[in-house]
């Protein structure tokens, strides 16, 4: 009982017992009755054992117990009752399974930029947000089709990629809308680990839904939605998630955040993501010399552009996370580190120290070089 009480009183960002959306709430409503039935059965068995231990203890006078070999009526009863109970739980399970696999009906969300919008603000049209989730070693990629580029395997024949909306580590969603996740796993062709299909990961944001595997060569699906009534002051709520299938050295460091925000904020985020940065020019060398030096380093001897993409610049690497609009995120490095200059420095000094095995294998950077890079990264709003 104490355990249960403590569990309820906890403050855990990935708590499954405090659902923040209809999908996780559905699960919670199924789990709790079954949990309490299990508790009752346990108490019955434990009490029976304790009762026997006390009442039927060997003592003078009861050394010759009646030799009962069985009792057919009793045995049939205690077979049928659990069977019926389990049929009930099984029925609930099957209904729940079909619920989990439902493809949410409704038009997929598309984006109306401010220029075309009636209100003059960027807006969304549609009911269901579709996002493609791709697990990599050891970070999560989020692609918004229709709002930007799709990864190759999701494109229909003849379909062209649109403007880039590829991001990593943070999944932005509008509250009150169903989100349909198409989930898979792969590794870039130029990964330092060599050509390979990737490994199995598991996408889990407990506050909002159960988990779903991300399997190379397969596309799995997960529905989730964040409660809108939880947004009371207009600020987004951030939910924590984590990979839940052992995937190698930094499995523990493959985390992510789900940022649930008002539809207006979400549309503004999309609008920002769709603005294209311009590459830095020599004019910037005078106004922001540190950032310009960082930009040069990024695309030059630092080697960053071989793996990272910053849309609008010559950095088009397809190995590591897309860093366009980096400063719009709150976390980085597999959502292990909060995004701030201090953490960026720690990371750039030695990525392997933060994430053992990380595929970001860079040369040793001097403190000066790190300062320059951070100054450049700070400009990626």
């Amino acid at each position: 009982m104490a355990l249960a009480a403590t569990a309820c009183a906890s403050n855990a960002p990935q708590d499954t017992l405090k659902p923040k959306g209809p999908e996780s709430r559905y699960i919670d409503h199924l789990f709790f009755p079954v949990f309490w039935i299990a508790v009752v059965v346990f108490f019955f068995v434990a009490s029976a054992v304790l009762y026997c231990a006390v009442r039927f203890r060997a003592r003078p006078g009861n050394e010759n117990p009646r030799q009962v070999h069985g009792n057919t009526k009793l045995e049939v009863t205690w077979t049928i009752i659990p069977f019926l109970l389990l049929v009930g739980v099984g029925t609930a399970s099957v209904i729940g399974i079909f619920h989990l696999y439902k493809d949410p009906p409704g038009q997929r969300i598309s984006f109306v930029p401010a220029s075309a919008s009636a209100t003059g603000e960027p807006a969304m049209v549609g009911k269901v947000l579709e996002v493609h989730v791709i697990g990599h070693r050891w970070w999560w990629e989020f692609d918004y089709p229709g709002l930007g580029t799709m990864q190759d395997q999701f494109l229909s024949p003849g379909e062209q990629p649109g403007t880039a909306l590829v991001t990593a580590g943070e999944l932005h969603i509008p509250v009150g809308y169903m989100v349909r996740l198409d989930v898979t796993s792969n590794e870039p062709a130029k990964s330092p680990e060599g050509v390979g299909p990737g490994v199995i990961h598991n996408f889990w944001v407990p506050s909002l839904a159960g988990k779903i595997y991300a399997i190379p060569g397969h596309i799995t699906h997960l529905n989730l939605e964040a409660d809108s009534k939880l947004i009371t002051d207009g600020h987004p709520i951030t939910y924590s998630g984590q990979c839940s299938e052992f995937c190698g050295l930094s499995h523990a460091n493959m985390r992510f955040k789900v940022v649930a925000e008002s539809p207006a904020d979400f549309a503004a985020w999309v609008a920002n993501q769709q603005t294209v940065q311009s590459p830095m020019t020599t004019a910037d060398a005078l106004t922001s010399p540190l950032a310009y030096a960082g930009y040069t380093l990024f695309n030059g001897s630092g080697g960053c552009s071989t793996c990272h993409t910053i849309q609008g610049t010559s950095a088009q690497g397809q190995v590591g996370p897309n860093l366009t609009h980096l400063q719009a995120r709150g976390v980085f490095a597999g959502a292990v580190l909060a995004l701030n200059n201090n953490n960026l420095r720690i990371w750039l000094r030695d990525p392997q120290a933060v994430k053992p095995g990380a595929n970001m294998r860079i040369r040793k950077l001097s403190e000066r070089e790190i300062t320059e890079l951070i100054a450049y990264l700070d400009t990626l709003k």
Binding site: A38, V41, A48, I97, G198, Y213
Partner: protein, 665 residues
């Protein structure tokens, strides 16, 4: 000495070259290395698996030290991944399975009234494969790193691309070596149980432990080939350029999961059925009542054995296999809870109305009943698929399987150790120390694993080497670590008990527990030849029925005293001819790890040497007669294998029948 010349000819047509004389020792190092006696082999399995229990437990303590605090730095990620992989692999393949084998080997022939198993040299071969396979696996720590892909080895993470070292190769070949031993042992024990029962021992008169052992060994026989196939496929992918699990070339990672769990689920019933058998023996003895519903206990065990093949996808409920497949396995998993739950009620029914003696063995058996119930109930919550989408791959599952495997199998095994200790070693383990062992272990176990239910429900995934301080998991992880060290303390108490008993323990009396089954008809410790005369069986719980009858009210009426039935030789100095020890099982077994090293390092020369050792060993084994002719030094053996040996007075009610022949292969 004409009687000697009249002895049956040996099975070999001509005298084969013998560069090694047939060993004769039954003691000392040579005696143990060449033994084919099921009792010695059982002891070997038991001692070896206990040592691996300490090793696996040490690995568990390392894990708990690392996870006691957030951002722990006791172990690096590289080391942690090896430690958690080896903890699981050790506990499943090197502890619980062989510990069950220890009980199977020692007890099955005695419980069915036989002189040994059907194939004694094959039996020794299985043991040596276990020891050498375990050593092979552990040698990896010194040879570049232990297996680090989890005990379940999911592809493609275990492919050569993502696991480039030899770690996984050691895992593959180690498990293949162990698998050969298990499969051979399963076949051996099944043949023994089916063919070598004493006259009158119909299947439904067999002791319940032997029944559960029969089911478990059938499961082994069919499950080991499945994992063997899976291991060959991943080995081909890693070493021979195939792509069974590589979707870039038409393969499928889910295939690995299907094969692994098709093995893996029957495997967990292999792990728990023997302990259920043990507990089903212990509870009736210490309640002075028969097992409630013996036929149902048999049939539920058989049902679990069959149904256990139809639930494996419940390890894959989050894989997205589609609603129909997922529903089918959710329902089948719910249904298998019925025969499992029925057993719990039958154990309660056995204790109810009994006269319960609280020996240590009974403490552990009752602990099993309660702890296994908890694990079984959390299993039912897993069968509820939407809930399992939150629970799977979290610490909630870790809690579940430790409750059934530690709270179940390990507690059951300790119950068996305390119960049969006098039979095996001729001494009684100290009861006071035993009770301390029990309570410290029970409390430590619940403190270690109870909180893991909470951690799982609070979103902590499995198999992570560390976690951040802001997740809300700090407190219960710390508590769990304290529990783990408490279990260690309990284990130390047990070791002390064994040592104290070995040095100062008084000899055990015959039939110390007033038991029910015929292994107790032999003196303690069991003599080398088991039975002087094969018992004639006319009841289930035959020994009990020799001592007690029931009156009309169902109460016991004593009709015989234990000492009347304990089989002692009339002439203690008399030499009884036994099947002969042999070097060849050890020699042949030795070939396999040599082949294994050759394959790990792709050095064909070494593999060929190993193959030669294996084949020569088997060839020599085949040419050697199963039993040497009787020794001319002992004239009383003149009648050959069918010599009659007299029982000591007083006369028993047993019918005199010739000792059962072993059919050695």
């Amino acid at each position: 000495m004409t009687a000697v010349e009249a002895v049956r000819p040996t099975s070999a047509p001509a005298t084969p070259p013998r560069f090694l004389k047939r060993p004769k020792a039954t003691d000392g190092v040579v005696g143990w290395l060449t033994t084919i006696d099921h009792k010695k082999i059982g002891i070997l399995y038991g001692v070896t698996s206990f040592i691996f229990f300490l090793v696996g437990g040490f690995e568990a303590l390392l894990i708990r030290l690392q996870l006691a605090q957030p951002n722990g730095n006791i172990l690096t990620a590289q080391v942690y991944n090896q430690v958690f992989t080896m903890h699981g692999t050790t506990m499943v393949f090197l502890v619980i399975m062989p510990m069950s084998a220890a009980f199977f080997n020692y007890l099955i022939p005695l419980q069915i009234g036989a002189g040994d198993v059907a194939f004694p040299r094959l039996n020794a071969f299985s043991y040596w494969l276990y020891l050498l396979g375990g050593a092979f696996l552990y040698s990896s720590f010194l040879l570049g790193g232990a297996p680090n892909g989890g005990w379940f080895g999911y592809a493609p993470n275990t492919s050569i691309t993502y696991s480039p070292g030899h770690n996984i190769d050691f895992w593959i070949f180690g498990l293949l070596i162990l698998g050969i031993g298990s499969t051979a042992s399963a076949a051996n024990l099944i043949v023994t149980i089916i063919n070598m029962r004493a006259p009158g021992m119909r299947l439904l008169r067999m002791p319940i432990f032997t029944w559960m052992a029969l089911v478990a060994n059938f499961l082994l026989l069919f499950a080991m080939p499945v994992i063997t196939v899976a291991l060959f496929l991943i080995m081909f992918d890693r070493q021979w350029g195939t792509h069974f699990f590589d979707p870039l070339a038409g393969g499928d990672p889910v295939l690995w999961q299907q094969l692994f769990w098709l093995f893996g689920h029957p495997e967990v019933y292999i792990l728990v059925l023997p302990a259920m058998g043990i507990v089903s023996e212990v509870i009736p003895v210490f309640s002075r009542k028969p097992l409630f519903g013996y036929p149902v206990m048999v049939f539920s065990g058989v049902a679990i054995g069959f149904m256990g093949w139809g639930v494996w996808v419940h390890h894959m409920f989050a894989v997205g296999l589609g609603p129909v497949a997922t529903s089918a396995f959710s329902v089948s998993t719910m249904l298998i809870a019925v025969p499992t739950g029925v057993k719990i009620f039958n154990w309660l029914g056995t204790m109810w109305g009994g006269s319960i003696r609280f020996k240590t063995s009974m403490h552990f058996a009752m602990g099993f009943v309660v702890m296994f119930t908890i694990g079984g109930l959390s299993g039912v919550t897993h069968a509820l698929v939407p809930a399992d989408r939150q629970q799977t791959d979290s610490y909630y599952v870790v809690a579940h399987f430790h409750y059934v495997l530690f709270g179940g199998s390990i507690l059951g095994i300790f119950s068996g150790i305390y119960y049969w200790y006098p039979k095996v070693f001729g001494k009684m383990l100290d009861e006071k120390l035993g009770k301390w062992h029990f309570w410290v272990t029970l409390i430590g176990f619940n403190v270690a694993f109870g909180p893991m239910h909470i951690l799982g429900l609070q979103g902590m995934p499995r198999r992570i080497y560390t976690y951040s301080a802001s997740m809300g998991w700090n407190f219960w992880n710390f508590v769990s670590t304290i529990g783990a060290f408490t279990i260690a303390a309990g284990t130390l108490i047990f070791i002390y008990n064994v040592r104290k008993t070995d040095r100062h323990g008084a000899p055990a009396p015959d039939d110390p527990w007033d038991a029910r089954t015929i292994e107790w008809i032999t003196p303690n410790p069991t003599p080398e030849y088991n039975f002087i005369e094969t018992p004639q069986i006319s009841h289930q719980d035959e020994f009990w029925h020799l001592k007690y009858a029931e009156d009309d009210d169902g109460r016991l009426v004593k009709i015989g005293e234990s000492p009347d039935f304990i089989q002692r030789r009339a002439r203690p100095d008399e030499h009884i001819h036994m099947p002969s020890p042999s070097y060849w099982p050890l020699v042949a077994a030795f070939g396999l790890p040599v082949i294994g090293y050759g394959q790990v390092y792709r050095l064909w020369g070494i593999s060929i040497v190993g193959l030669i050792i294996l084949l020569s060993g088997i060839y020599a084994w085949g040419l050697e007669p199963s039993t040497e002719p009787p020794d001319p030094e002992y004239p009383e053996e003149a009648g050959g294998d069918h010599a009659q040996h007299e029982l000591a007075e007083p006369e028993t009610q047993l019918e005199l029948t010739p000792a059962a022949e072993t059919t050695d292969g």
